[in-house]
Symmetry: C2
Subunit: 354 residues, 2 copies
């Protein structure tokens, strides 16, 4: 293999592939008449990107992803040459040579499952930012580390929960095809949310799920336990509704949260036309803050983890939200008063007060 490429785009493609793959895997570089394909796979996922390159000699090599990405990122030269020299892939610029060992592991890039639909990348990224962040980072049950991706005739629904809260987002489908119902690892979708742009293709064949955009294709095995659903959460007994600006509520939660107890729990006291946040900690003092709010229904004072409220409200930045509060230990349901293209519903479980 021997090729010359523009450093920046090549660096972007290699870095994107390295981040989409789970840590320390090998990266496959395949140079042919169509330019360069960068990809990799592990037991769980496969990634494939295309990059432009002037290919002098066709070929295919597997090299460590991290050092290649790091080297390309730090180069100042506009052009870079990648050339196999014995048991090394040499990255060459004027005055510099960086040589990576060729790995010998067998590697093939599986084909993408068929594309069944498309969504707007911006809407998908907006939805994923909140939903993928709601899944647990680490849990014995895959259901709580994945995002359930469901396509219906006109909309895509994304659902995630870590037991203590659940986020559900819907966004319009650009085209309707075979329905998808897959539980996808949240980590991959969180990285996707950092990279995807333009129109994003949704791919699926029952056992695998894939996303594609702007030269990037990602596939992943589908996790079990796809019964994650809003139906798990009771939301029919709302007796109090509060409307308030999401950003003002988030700022108040942050300030009053400084004085919260070790569990970081604070209380929302619903008054006639206001919401009062209160917290207290044995040795740190206490805080209270009152926000004007539109209230309907009875008085109540549920308690919540400050962090969960902040995570939820972040998804509604710049918007007015409605809090549907249910009695007892039932979830508080947060929605935008005037939802946009992406409709987000966030359920936060209350905590026992002190």
């Amino acid at each position: 293999m021997d090729l010359t490429a523009a450093t920046r785009p090549l660096s972007s493609a290699v870095s994107a592939a390295a981040r989409l793959l789970s840590a320390r895997s090998g990266l496959l570089l395949r140079a042919g008449k169509d330019g360069l394909t960068v990809g990799g796979n592990d037991s769980e996922r496969a990634v494939r990107l295309t990059a432009e390159a002037m290919v002098h000699t066709d070929g295919e090599v597997l090299v460590p992803a991290g050092p290649l990405a790091e080297t390309l990122r730090m180069l100042d030269d506009d052009l870079v040459r990648l050339v196999v020299e014995g048991s090394r892939l040499a990255v060459r610029v004027e005055g510099g040579r960086y040589a990576l060992p060729l790995l010998s592991r067998e590697l093939n890039l599986p084909d993408m499952p068929p594309k069944v639909s498309e969504v707007d990348g911006h809407a998908l990224v907006t939805a994923l930012r909140t939903v993928a962040g709601t899944a647990a980072k680490d849990d014995a049950l895959p259901m709580f580390t994945g995002v359930r991706v469901q396509s219906f005739s006109r909309e895509l629904r994304l659902t995630a929960s870590d037991r203590y809260r659940m986020a559900v987002a819907t966004l319009p489908l650009r085209s309707a095809g075979e329905p998808i119902d897959a539980l996808v690892p949240a980590g991959l979708l969180a990285e996707t949310a950092k990279q995807a742009r333009g129109t994003v293709g949704l791919h699926g064949d029952g056992t695998r799920f894939g996303l594609s955009w702007a030269g990037v294709a990602v596939t992943t095995a589908v996790l079990d336990a796809g019964f994650l659903s809003e139906k798990l959460i009771e939301s029919s007994t709302v007796d109090t509704t509060v409307e308030v600006a999401a950003d003002a509520l988030a700022a108040a939660v942050r300030r009053v949260g400084v004085y919260a107890d070790d569990r970081r729990v604070l209380t929302l006291e619903v008054g006639d036309a206001h919401l009062r946040l209160a917290s207290a900690k044995q040795n740190t003092g206490e805080a209270e803050e009152t926000l004007k709010a539109e209230v309907s229904g009875g008085r109540t004072s549920p308690s919540f983890q400050a962090r969960y409220l902040l995570d939820a409200l972040q998804g509604f930045a710049g918007e007015r939200v409605r809090l549907d509060i249910q009695p007892g230990m039932r979830a508080c349901v947060i929605r935008a008063v005037e939802p946009g293209e992406v409709e987000l519903t966030y359920y936060v479980m209350p905590m026992l007060p002190r």
Copy 2:
């Protein structure tokens, strides 16, 4: 105590005091006819700042520094009221009350030692950024966690070492007074480097050392073992001199360092008119990069820790540096070819090659 103050400047003063004090200490607030004094002390250091305030009732309280700083930083209101309410200091804005417990520990703010000289704050900050960062973060010997501060008739000299490298900076004194020779905790000086501006006063009385600028006064006990000096390092046997741009060398060290062994050691091979950096690691490959350089003296190939070279070169950003290389395991001496107001000398000990 009862006072009203502009939130931003009060927040700045309280945050600065909290950062200059070692972690979780109490903060003294003293309100009187001169406005508000914010300060604190622990076994090692004392800090005192002044802030403007409209004082309604004189008084003095001790409160936890962290929560007060955090609360003030997050407030959106222009004005804030601090008022003692029972056993609490209440921070009040419209719609919000944050109440901190009053601490009972005895606390007094010692007077500053006398001012003996002054330096330009910008020059001091530039010098401290490199020198304070060179001291060890943690070492049984105070000598390696402190910066030796010495004033002579016309210049201030700052010296620090962690055994593996030493930084020495000199800068002009604005006025000459009693000489200072103090070993000062590097952590305090590193924080000072983030805050100091304008003209900085140097204070000393033999057992304490102090700095003052723009309403801030900091004093600290002086550490033992002030014999830290360039004289500890042999630098009379230079046989090779290399001149090169500091930024280009740093960028090359960063790139080649990716391929360095576990000790992160790379070799500088001095040629006739170039400097060649080389590194190799069993499983990661190898790298080499060649920089044009002005060389005088013989060929040599010392090895260095990449990180130490980078720390050293950071102090010479934008400048051309001269490397004086000594034979064997003696230090490499790095200086600017055309030093400015702050004259920095950096000694880096070589490593055994593989």
